[in-house]
């Protein structure tokens, strides 16, 4: 009897162990060979773009955190830079350095998570545990500055929320050394690992022309040998002052993507070190001579007219607002009263500051960019992250569009998978680093 040949349809996802993200693949299999793939996305569509149209500009930051939730700081920076471009304002040096430091920390956490998770899916559980340990060190740094581990909402239009804490540089150098150790451990465990090597090499290949045609950017494009990096091509903030390389691969397979990500983490760590050495000193305003008094007391004194010496006093703030008092203010915020909230001391102690605060947070007021549109790309962890914002001159954005870097990569997924075997899905999908929050928005 002749063996009857027919293809089989296999549905993978949306909730599947080998997929760290919600996506559904409908695959046509012939034996173990993949004949065709249909990719279905949208299982984490949370209406980011619609929600941004309903809130004010600074209120969009919490939503941007949750786009690429593995590297939220880069999203924050991207959105803020776009609105600043729309407003046509510049920010102080120190806050530029802070933004770069935080972005690079975020990029390292993203790559650590991506590599750790994809190694775990290939069975290398200890690599995952080590990399999450390293990520935990970096989260401690992030938490020290922003007050949160993951969804930080740290950047503000015209600056950042809080200055670096005293002694941050020393702690950062310590943590960077720890992360380097983990990277060496991970490298030893994976790079010469026969199983890992065999499953990654020559799988999921994409050519340069195809990658360009699909609009792929970031580590994925660089693995094919094209050294396109927004930080080099259109330097923003202070990237042109930093010494770093853009690692590239040669073949564009999974192994190359792994190497590119490993090398990029090292470059990011180098950048953080350089920034910490170059960053101009803060706080700019120096030490205040008065006492540190609670906010309620300051408000009471101002109401009763006991304003003698009040200008020299510092307010004791909630831990989440630490680093945003008057003495740090000038170093981290643009000199634009129509954009940036006043220092907390003036909000609490004088009417001008209070008015300024209300004019920025009240409904119907707020930041009002001129009518127009702007697109600003930054280098996200997965590639070019661009925000396109249309303003109608009111306090709400008319349209916020984010160009998600993993969206084009996912559209190329059938190209990567067709022709390979079923088991290759796991390493290929891991190396794509799909982040559902950014893919579906």
């Amino acid at each position: 009897m002749a063996i009857q040949k027919r293809s089989m349809l296999l549905n993978v996802g949306p909730s599947h162990p080998a997929m760290h993200g919600v996506i559904r693949l409908i695959m046509e299999l012939e034996g173990e060979k993949i004949k065709g793939v249909d990719v279905e996305i949208g299982y984490l569509h949370r209406a980011f773009e619609k929600m941004c149209e309903t809130v004010m500009y600074n209120q969009c930051f919490p939503y941007t955190d949750r786009l690429n939730y593995v590297s939220p700081l880069i999203n924050n920076v991207g959105f803020a830079m776009t609105v600043e471009k729309l407003l046509g304002i510049d920010i102080p040096e120190r806050s530029k350095y802070i933004r770069v430091i935080m972005s690079e920390i975020s990029r390292v956490t993203d790559h650590l998570t991506c590599l750790g998770a994809s190694a775990m899916e290939l069975g290398a559980m200890s690599v995952f545990l080590y990399m999450i340990k390293a990520r935990e060190y970096l989260y401690e740094l992030v938490e020290e500055i922003t007050g949160a581990r993951l969804t930080i909402s740290y950047v503000r239009i015209g600056g950042v929320k809080a200055d670096l804490t005293p002694g941050f540089a020393d702690r950062a150098f310590q943590k960077i050394a720890e992360v380097r150790k983990v990277l060496i451990e991970g490298d030893e465990l994976l790079t010469r690992n026969r199983i890992f090597f065999d499953r990654m090499k020559g799988i999921g290949i994409i050519s340069q022309e195809e990658a360009i045609s699909y609009g792929i950017t970031g580590p994925f494009l660089r693995s094919t040998g094209i050294a396109y990096d927004v930080r080099k091509a259109n330097p923003y903030l202070i990237y042109d002052r930093l010494d770093f390389e853009v690692p590239t691969g040669t073949t564009g397979d999974n192994l190359d993507r792994y190497f590119v990500r490993m090398a990029e983490m090292e470059q990011s760590l180098r950048m953080i070190e350089q920034c910490l050495q170059q960053i101009p000193d803060g706080p700019i305003n120096g030490e205040l001579t008065g006492d540190i008094i609670p906010a309620a007391q300051m408000v009471d004194r101002a109401k009763m007219g006991q304003t003698e010496g009040l200008m020299e006093d510092e307010v004791a703030l909630d831990p989440t607002l630490q680093g945003s008092t008057k003495k740090y203010y000038k170093g981290i915020n643009a000199d634009q009263k129509s954009v940036v909230l006043p220092p907390k001391e003036s909000t609490y102690s004088n009417i001008e500051g209070l008015m300024n605060h209300f004019k920025l947070v009240m409904y119907g007021h707020g930041i009002k960019p001129p009518v127009g549109e702007a697109y600003f790309p930054v280098e996200g962890a997965n590639g070019e992250l661009g925000f396109y914002i249309v303003s109608d001159g009111r306090e709400h954005p008319w349209r916020v569009r984010v160009h998600p870097p993993c969206f084009p990569i996912m559209s190329a997924l059938p190209k990567l998978l067709v022709g390979s075997v079923m088991a290759d899905l796991v390493p290929t999908f891991g190396s794509v680093n799909m982040i559902a929050g950014e893919l579906d928005r």
């Binding site: 996305i41 949208g42 569509h45 209406a47 773009e49 619609k50 929600m51 149209e53 309903t54 471009k85 729309l86 046509g88 195809e210 360009i212 045609s213 699909y214 609009g215 792929i216 950017t217 094209i226 396109y228 091509a233 259109n234 009518v371 127009g372 549109e373 702007a374 697109y375 790309p377 070019e384 661009g386 396109y388 249309v390 303003s391 109608d392 001159g393 009111r394 008319w398 349209r399 569009r401 160009h403 969206f407 084009p408 996912m410 559209s411 190329a412 579906d440 928005r441």
Partner: protein, 164 residues
């Protein structure tokens, strides 16, 4: 000569408006010539726009900031990037409410495929010649187009569970 000037020179009578607000060079063109403009931008060696970075749409219904013309409601926005020359350009195509339809760029850039599906899903703009124009982010049962300005932001259409 900047890319915008070259486009202006080549398609003088089909360009409705140009501007370079904050340095973003923008050309607003008539819907009919989109394919020609795109081909020109991609295939002219001095321009070499090989990346279709982003494709999206904007709904200008009730827009307070002044529009090109009241008859146009949507604008499809293309962001192009040239790897070789490292320059960018934005092309906008205004569309009317009655006939929101424009040519698909799927043949020129593979990335247009999914972007166009997304624009169809969110705005209901049709793309002529698209091979697979169906919803991408929302489910098939969803009625209407969510990012249109006349779609309430919290109008739910649940598949299971309580109806709003």
């Amino acid at each position: 000569m900047t890319p915008l000037e070259q486009v202006q020179q080549q398609f003088a009578k089909d360009i409705i408006e140009t501007h370079a607000f904050r340095g973003d060079e923008t050309a607003v063109i008539r819907p009919g010539v989109l394919l020609n403009v795109a081909k020109f931008l991609k295939e002219t060696p001095e321009l070499g726009f090989n990346f279709l970075m982003d494709l999206t749409a904007v709904d200008y219904l009730f827009f307070a900031g002044g529009r090109i013309s009241k008859e146009y409601r949507f604008e499809v926005v293309y962001h192009l990037y040239s790897l070789k020359h490292n320059h960018r350009i934005r092309i906008k195509v205004p569309l009317t409410e009655e006939n929101p339809e424009v040519d698909s760029l799927d043949k020129l850039w593979a990335s247009a495929n999914w972007y166009e599906r997304e624009v169809w899903d969110m705005y209901g703009v049709k793309f002529k010649g698209h091979p697979n124009l169906k919803r991408i982010l929302m489910y098939e049962e969803f009625k209407g187009h969510a990012l249109r300005k006349d779609y309430p932001f919290n109008k739910r259409q649940p598949l299971i569970g309580p109806q709003n």
